[in-house]
Symmetry: C2
Subunit: 367 residues, 2 copies
């Protein structure tokens, strides 16, 4: 029941489903671990991508020093699964309930929290969590300018917080630039990251704080790592990869370890068919570089031209005939993190067989 | 703790949350019910928007003849909640497991299923479900051309299926057209719907089948209903409304009954702030007519210029100052159906008080 391209569609008990290739997943984890060992950087993979204990266990077994997460809820889920070193790489603002939850977490594991304001720092005091100063390296999302990192670190330390280091997310490595190529955009963002982290580490030292952790992202920029100030990376998507990463050139189709499996429910025209994998399965994310709403590895040149909640409308290239009603088709999501967060479980396959079902333990853990 | 605009932010126990205004919801339900009574059309609201038993109960109590749903899983959830007349307005392709599930449903309630191919019809035979022929009225998603409806209906009837009527979804009433206005696009789609349903009803009659049900969409086109062939509408979004409906002009801000409540976690610049309501709370849906990733009713002229999984980056208009760290801000999602499907529960408020919590009973019920 497998397909020629290796995107198994037969093993899922029903559609729509998210299917994980166990061998590809394990190869992706091993390759990134090996890159870290060869390059001399530690890995703290971002678990927001997979939200599964079974993937985290494999990352830690391959040598990851800990996990990155985005929310206290995710940290709770992975602490429950046995993780003992958790970095909530997000500028948390703690109300009283979150203060209690963070303190409980920090009593059971090493917990670090992102910080980009003294306002947020005040509410972290007393929880037992350490802080990592967030620096903006060009994405213009959160984080202070590199030159201000030392002042914020000093302010946090003066409040009694343990300041562990600096981090940034070079998310502008995924942004489309008409005048550039994906590879150049990724490399440019990696260099921005290195420069911002070097400058902010220096800024901490000038404020009398030696940064232990100097932490960067990300799957699209990880391949451009070079010896320098950064001592840890936090890639997330690499475990599964997705259609955006393919468009960015940061992975190949053979390295995609997760895809949706849909059923052809309608063939309204000779050059068009409709799958039951809509935005409630894939997420509504656009693909900045490639267009469309996902990639069909078995139908080169086809595009998901329209996505509604339960319909993916596929336009076929000239001369290619449509699959028949009831056939199953693999579709690689644009943004795998959002797709996984829509699923209660992942169907794990190996050699065309359904070998396991993994619960998306931190699904919906947004708070 | 309420805000001046009526978008309560204080009542939610934590953020991010989806908050429902009970009075606004009940007013929206009553208004659409009254429009149906005044106009002479039956209402079969689409429950995919809310996925909540408590909203369905209110729709049925206001006179809805039944519910529309998109999947067997949704039908099962609402049958469990007591619904007895369910239209799965989707061209289901049934594998054996789905055949069994549909037969079980049809044993306990009246169940109708969308149909646009004889291939799918063959697998519905024996389940006890009736079928409704889907016609394409211009959205180019699923459905047969109106003139072919009779032949398909005849084919289905000859297989032994009960053919109950015709339906269409005029989704092109939401598509942006540079040379038109939202109101004209909506009206044009409503007229396309009426024409396609009239022609397909005629096509059924010519094939010897009298259509009992002649069913149209949708929230953006419902306001253009006119006496004619259509005897039932299936709007969904109207119960809550959203930023896309506001941009389309099919509701006002005062008619929005659901919003997300986020906390300001970062203020990286004087004219920019960041909320904890990202794409894992709102969905990543674009707003075709208005741009941005949601509407901030308390910050006119502000725009969510960037949305990642846990960050909504808000750009403020000139002269408007940012809220402070820890302040709560209301944000109206672009596409409420996808936002609700990301939440496990909805926080129900009335007069600034948290009066109830509704479970999103059919969340993730995609199969």
């Amino acid at each position: 029941m497998g397909s020629g391209t290796g995107f198994e569609v037969g093993a899922a008990p029903a559609t729509p489903a998210l299917v994980v290739s166990l061998p590809t997943l394990e190869r992706n984890i091993a390759q990134m671990a090996e890159a870290g060992r060869a390059g001399g950087f530690a890995l703290r993979p971002h678990a927001k991508t997979h939200k599964c204990a079974q993937v985290a266990e494999r990352q830690l077994a391959a040598g990851a020093v800990g996990l990155s997460v985005a929310t206290i809820g995710e940290a709770e889920a992975f602490a429950k699964a046995g993780a003992t070193d958790l970095f909530i790489a997000y500028p948390l603002w703690l109300d009283e309930s979150r203060q209690r939850r963070l303190a409980k977490l920090a009593g059971a594991a090493r917990v670090l929290v992102g910080l980009d304001s003294v306002e947020n720092a005040r509410r972290i005091v007393g929880t037992g969590a350490g802080v990592v100063i967030e620096v903006d390296s060009g994405y213009r999302r959160t984080g202070v300018p590199a030159r201000e990192a030392g002042a914020l670190a000093r302010g946090a330390a003066d409040l009694g917080l343990e300041v562990v280091g600096v981090f940034t997310f070079p998310g502008h490595g995924m942004a489309k630039q008409e005048s550039s190529t994906p590879a150049r955009v990724r490399e440019h963002a990696a260099r921005d990251q290195d420069a911002a982290l070097a400058a902010s580490a220096e800024s901490l030292r000038a404020a009398g704080i030696e940064p232990e952790l100097i932490s960067g992202g990300s799957t699209p920029t990880a391949g451009f790592w070079q010896q320098g100030p950064v001592n840890e990376l936090r890639p997330g998507v690499y475990v599964f990869n997705d259609a955006s990463q393919i468009a960015l050139g940061s992975c190949t189709i053979a390295e995609v370890a997760l895809w949706s499996v849909g059923t052809v429910v309608s063939v309204p025209a000779a050059d068009r068919f409709v799958l039951d994998t809509g935005s409630k399965v894939l997420g509504a994310d656009a693909n900045t570089w490639a267009g469309g709403y996902g990639l069909l590895p078995e139908f080169p040149g086809a595009q998901v031209v329209q996505l509604s909640e339960h319909h993916a409308v596929v336009q076929l290239p000239e001369g290619r005939s449509s699959p028949r009603h009831g056939e199953r088709v693999a579709l690689i999501p644009n943004h795998v993190c959002n797709a996984v967060n829509l699923a209660d479980e992942l169907v794990v396959v190996d050699g065309g067989r359904h070998v396991d079902t993994w619960r998306v333990a931190a699904r919906g853990a947004n708070g």
